[in-house]
Each structure stands twice: as C-alpha cells, then as structure tokens.
C-alpha cells in the first residue's frame, strides 16, 4: 500500500523561485512595527512568524503512530486530548488534534526525510500522512500581555492558570479557526491557515496596539 | 361592532373616551362548534374571520393557549413581500399581497400596512443571476419587481455602504415596490375583532391537550377547560405544530427552531424601505416609532424556549454594521425569540391529514407573517368546502412523499 503513495519533496533545492511566507504580503501592506516603536515604551506583546516549518498531519490509530514516531523522532504522541509534546531542544512537537489526528511540526528541511522515514517505519499500516506545510503558518506571541491579547480574540479560556504549558487546542480566533498552544512558560503559538494569515496578522496588530505590540523580525524569508 | 372612523374618534373625544367598546368578547366555551381553529395567531384568526365572512360559517371557536397573537405573530419583524421564485409560492404570497392592499378597510382596523418597498441585495455575480431569474419569474407571474444596480440601491438607501471597499460590496438588488411592512399586533387584533363581531368565539388561555378521534374522523379537542366537539379542526400552531401532530398520532416534516430579532432605541427617520441581504445575512427596517427592526437567521438547534443564543445576535449585528457602518453606535433596546416551524423546502404545509376533518396549516417558518391574509383566506375555503383551495393544494403534506417539493430556499435565504 504505502509504496503506491507518491511522496515528493516540496522544498527541493532546485526550486528557482524564492519562497514567500503566507505573511509576506501583509508585511508590505500593513507594515512591521518594531516592538515598542509606536509607544516609545517597552512592548508588552510581541509577535513573530516562524515561517517555513514542516507541518505534517498524521491520521490513524494512536498505538501504531506512537510507536513509529518514537522510533523515528524520539518523541511519542501526547496521550491526552488537547495536549502537546515538545522534544528536548524545543524544535519538534506533536499535538493532539482529534482522537485519530495529530499535528507534527519540525524544522522545514527535516520534513521530507521525516515523512519518508515514518512511512517506511509504518509499512502497510492504515494511516495517512499529509504535508500541509504550505497551507499554514505559525505565529509566536510573547510578552507579559500576550494572554490579554488572546483574551480579546478567542472564546477559549486563556488564563495562564487554566491554559497551562503543554496544552494545545483548536478553537475560534476572531471568527476564524486557530490552533492555539503553549509550548513553554513564555510563548504562545498560533497556527493559522494561509488564507486567513493576513487577517489574523492585522487583527493581532490591532488588538495588541494598547500593549505596544511589535513584530520580531526573524525568519521572514527562506534561507536557500 | 363599534365601527372605527375619524368621526367616531371625535365623538369619543367629546365623551372623554369613556365608552369605547371592548374589541372582543371573552366567551365561555360551548360544548360544540362547526369548526375549531387551534392557535390564535394571525393565521388562525384570519382563518376564522374568512370562514365567517366568506363562507357564512360563524359557529367557530379559536382555541388559543395563551393570548391572541402572542406567538410568532407578536414576535416577527413584519416584512411583507410576494417576490417568491416558484409559481406555487408566488401565487400564494401574491394572493396575500392583494388582500393586504385592502385589509385595513375590509376589517375596519388600521393594520398600518406600509408599501415602502423591499430590497433583496446581491453581493456576488451568482446573487445577481439569481436575482435576475427571480425578478423575471415574478414578472411572468404578474408580480412587480425590478433589478437594480449598486447605484440604484445607493440612491434608494443613501446611508448604506455601497462602496467597493465594503467587505461584500453591493452589486445590486431586487426591488419590489409593493412590498413593505405592517403592524403585527394590529393584524392579530383587527382579525380578532372582526371575527368576534361575526360571532366567532375567541377562547384565550385554552390549551389543546389532545384530540378526540373516532374511526379515523376527528370528533373534537381536549383542552384544559374541558372537551370541545367539532367535526372540522384546523391546527394553525406554528412552532408547536409537531407537538399537536403527535397528539393526533403522526409526525410532520418540521423542525422548530428559535428565531431571534432585535429593536434599537428610537431614531429620527433614516431608512424608509426594507433592506435584506442573504449573503451578509441580516435585514433591517425602521418602524414608525423610529426603532430599527433587525433580524437574521435561525439558531441551528431545535428549541421551544422562545430564546436563542448570543452568537446569533452578534452575527446578526455584525451583518448590519457591515452594511450600515452608520449604525455601529446605535444601542439595542430589546431582543427576543419565537419558535419557527421550518420545513425542508422552506415552504408551508396547508393540508389535510391522515385524520379526516383534521387539517394543518403550518411550516411557515421564518416568513409567514406576510402570508397571513392569504393563508387564512385559502385555509378557510379549504375547511369550508372539505377540498383544498387550488392555491393551497400544492402545499399538501403529500409532497414530502411524492417528491413534488417547492424549493424556495433560493429565494428565501433570509426567509422573511
């Protein structure tokens, strides 16, 4: 079964066009205020895109996927709903999305190799792996007012005491959907769909204005 | 019946308004009637009135569990139009429209029918194609209608955002000049008073709790005030129709949903027509008192609670503010809900049933106020003759088995 699946490297080196993140256009149109730029004070909320990561959707039975993932990546599937496992380096994560669905995020250049190895490890198991890297992007939100920006935007309880580290949910964000997670004490991550990325970006700038929100400038363009 | 007139008003003023007659009696139920109408909303009261007036059947009771017109009739946003797509529904709603045009005179009661026109906006090319098609169909059926472009809409409603910058720019609209609004309470009260004057017994606080059926023929109803007999019973109970059908031993193809509406604080006149948008999903008009009258879609779950959820209200107001940024700071005064009986093809059921002599008139869902006179008129004729009136016949419950649905979802995305 598995060898009849056509798998290809979406990030092949021979690509001649520079990849643009889903927010490339937004940066030009709506600008990228530096943290604290507007207020002259220290910014209490900072957003930064972590573009071009590898996003894989895993679907299938938890046991077989868990075994394969431990073997190939050294981390297992989160056991509980709405939770998130992050590896020791904080570079790779896997999140529960539904009883038979997980989101795996890894550095972009590892995506193809990982998918290939996972497929080999899983053999003929009844699973699906889909590379959705091009369809979504990850926005990081930090700063002491981060959760206040979120409170204005989502129906989910984002009180830091309720939304503890290691939690991750799919919920509503300003009427669109978002995958919202908290990998560590200081960071929130929003995974948004490509076609809604501009809207979410502009919403965040607006919602964060009172906290002097700014945009951290790393990883705007793919280093080729 | 004391007739209302300008002269009468002067006369009463001279007597310090001390001898106005009650609008209707409060009779004790008789043991037996020729016809029982269950449900004292606009449709039920209109049915009773036309039974008495057009068919000489005056030994009629309207059995209402609460107060007259306290159901959806009192809760609706009063849009009246007849520009439906299919021939069957166009005939029904246009029949109603013609009756609306003479109603205040006919029942000697000012129902404040105001033909201020209704706009159904188009925001996409497909919307505009549908509008073209519907207006063409309307004209073939002798119903007034025009297709307007964005400029035409803007000139009718200067305060609406018809610019290209809008999130869903207005591309045009269908415009029915004869459409408009009426005063919902006055419709119920006017029919009640006129029916009462012809001898109809209006029994309020009387709830039907079951049916008496023998050999497949209806014999009467059980109520909290005792049994009442009749060989012909018409149920006009809107959101509660499934409950009554179950009492008679069958199901209906209906689901009862909450439908909400709101009114704002009163404003100076700013909007002299009715604006509806299927796409942005909201509609608005301004009452004579000055309140903005606002509504949109149902709450998606079944509910008999006469209330809905907050997200629906929020969605509705977002749509309104999208179309009318000028209203973004207007305060809402009141919000409420009704129980609407939605049908799979967005058309009503006016029909005989498995039980002989038991008829149902229901399924008007979110848009039956506009049909009130027409619905009552054809239903009365059907009850009187024992044969469905030709305009009512296509709305038989059999269509859900034969497949001859009348799919008005297209014309009625916001089906009011």
């Amino acid at each position: 079964m598995s060898n009849s699946v056509h798998v290809y490297d979406a990030r092949a080196d021979h690509a001649t066009v520079t990849a643009e993140s889903p927010l490339a256009y937004s940066y030009q149109r709506s600008g990228m205020p530096a943290p604290g730029e507007a207020s002259g004070e220290e910014s209490c909320a900072v957003i930064g895109e972590r573009a071009f990561l590898g996003h894989l959707i895993l679907r299938g039975g938890a046991i077989v996927l868990d075994e394969a993932l431990r073997e190939v990546l050294g981390i297992g599937l989160p056991g509980r709903p709405n939770s998130l496992n992050v590896d020791a380096e904080g570079q790779r994560s896997v999140q529960w999305l539904s009883p038979d669905e997980w989101l795996l995020i890894v550095p972009g250049d590892e995506t193809f190799g990982l998918e290939t190895r996972l497929r080999a490890q899983l053999g003929g198991a009844h699973v699906a792996i889909v590379d959705v890297s091009a369809g979504q992007t990850l926005i990081e939100l930090t700063g002491e007012a981060a959760h206040e920006v979120l409170m204005k935007s989502t129906v989910y309880d984002v009180d830091p005491h309720a939304f503890t580290v290691g939690k991750g949910v799919t919920t509503l964000f300003a009427k669109t959907s978002v995958i919202l997670r908290r990998p560590d004490e200081s960071r929130w991550e929003l995974i948004v769909r490509r076609s809604f990325a501009d809207y979410v970006y502009r919403w965040l700038l607006d919602a964060g204005e009172e906290y002097g929100i700014g945009v951290a400038r790393e990883s705007r363009h793919e280093s080729q | 019946m004391q007739r209302y007139s300008g002269f009468g008003l002067v006369k009463h003023a001279l007597r310090h308004h001390e001898d106005w007659q009650r609008q209707w009696r409060n009779p004790t139920p008789k043991p037996r009637y020729d016809v029982i109408i269950v449900g004292g909303g606009g449709h039920g009261l209109a049915t009773a009135y036309y039974l008495a007036k057009e068919h000489g059947i005056t030994n009629v009771a309207v059995v209402e569990k609460g107060w007259l017109g306290g159901g959806n009739t009192a809760r609706n946003t009063t849009i009246v139009r007849s520009n439906y797509l299919w021939d069957e529904s166009a005939a029904l709603y246009e029949h109603a429209m013609k009756l609306w045009e003479g109603l205040s005179q006919d029942i000697n009661y000012n129902v404040m029918f105001s033909q201020r026109g209704v706009l159904n906006l188009g925001h996409t090319l497909q919307d505009m194609r549908d509008i073209q098609r519907r207006v063409n169909a309307n004209r073939l059926n002798g119903i007034d209608g025009e297709v307007l472009d964005a400029e035409g809409v803007q000139s009718l409603v200067p305060i609406m955002d018809c610019s290209k910058r809008a999130r869903y720019p207005v591309m045009g609209a269908s415009w029915q000049p004869r459409a408009g609004v009426a005063r919902h309470d006055a419709v119920a009260w006017g029919y009640a008073r006129a029916a009462d004057a012809l001898g109809v017994d209006l029994l309020q606080n009387t709830e039907v709790t079951g049916f008496k059926i023998r050999d497949g023929q209806i014999q009467g109803v059980h109520t909290n005030r005792g049994d009442i007999e009749a060989k012909t019973v018409g149920c006009v109970t809107a959101g509660n129709s499934s409950v009554l059908a179950r009492m008679a031993g069958f199901n209906l193809p209906l689901e009862s949903h909450p439908l909400q509406a709101l009114v704002s604080e009163p404003l100076k006149p700013v909007l002299d027509t009715v604006v509806m948008s299927n796409h942005v999903h909201g509609y608005i008009s301004q009452s004579d008192k000055g309140d903005l009258v606002i509504g949109a879609g149902i709450d998606g779950y079944n509910g008999y609670g006469q209330r809905g959820s907050y997200p629906t209200v929020e969605h509705t107001l977002q749509a309104i503010v999208e179309m009318f940024p000028i209203f973004s700071r207007v305060r809402m005064n009141r919000q409420w809900g009704g129980i609407v009986d939605t049908c799979p093809d967005a058309c009503p059921i006016i029909s005989k049933t498995k039980v002989k002599g038991l008829y149902f008139n229901c399924g008007w869902g979110t848009g039956g106020f506009k049909a009130t006179p027409g619905s009552g008129h054809v239903f009365a004729a059907s009850l009187a003759k024992g044969e469905m009136h030709p305009i009512a016949a296509p709305f038989s419950i059999d269509r859900f088995h034969s497949g001859a649905l009348i799919d008005e979802h297209g014309a009625a995305g916001v089906a009011h």
């Binding site: 009883p99 | 079951g210 050999d215 009492m247 199901n251 193809p253 209906l254 779950y301 997200p311 859900f400």
Partner: protein
Amino acid sequence: MFHIYCPYCEELREEEEFHPKGQAHIARPEEPDACNDEEWGDYLFFRDNPRGIHHEMWLHAVGCRKFFNITRNTVSYEILETYKMGEQPTITAEHLAREEKTAREEKTDSAQVAEGGQQTVGASDAAVASIKGAQA
C-alpha cells in the same frame, strides 16, 4: 448560550465552536432501492421534533471536528448528557417519565404535581388515551 462537553476533547467548550446537525439515531434504510415513497420520504424529511427530551447530533466544527450526540431538553435547553457516535443515550424521555411517575406515586398528596417541561414524545397521556380509545 451553551457550554458543551465534547466527549472527544473531554472538556467543556463554547457553543460557537459547534454546529447542530439535527436529530440523532436516524438509521438509513438498509436498502434504499427497496423503499417505497412513504418510507423514503419519512426517512428524508419527517422528524420527531419533540418538545422536551431530544437526542441530536452536533459537530465540534472548530475543534476536533468529530460528530457526537447530545441529549437536551428543547424547552429548558438543559443539556443532560453528551455521548460519542455509536453509543446510546442513558437518559431518555421514557426513562424520565418513569422516574417522574414513581416520584408522583411516592407522594401522598400528589394530585397537583406539575408536568414540568418533560412531556417529550409530544403525546400527552390524554392524547394517547384518545387515540387508543378511537382504535378500540
């Protein structure tokens, strides 16, 4: 406004994340081609639409995207339970009616016990009796 416990996410979530999807436990006819018009129409269009206890499907649309079932009172809107697809409700109209009846019998001065909003299959006792009487 509902606060709904998703049996898959195992927590209470806001109503906005969900879509109601109509009456639950409607079995598709095994052989649609063998249905007559009446059976097929009943399956497609006719619904219980009870005033009281209702079993309905909901979708956790912006969440885990799973369908599940809710037992809910359509008058008070109280959610009595949620359960996964393929499972059966533990709270039903019949079950509540039985409980209510026992409670009534246990009371000595019980003549005036209110019916509550729990009349669910539509038919009141009186109505059922009248139909039965008619057939007899």
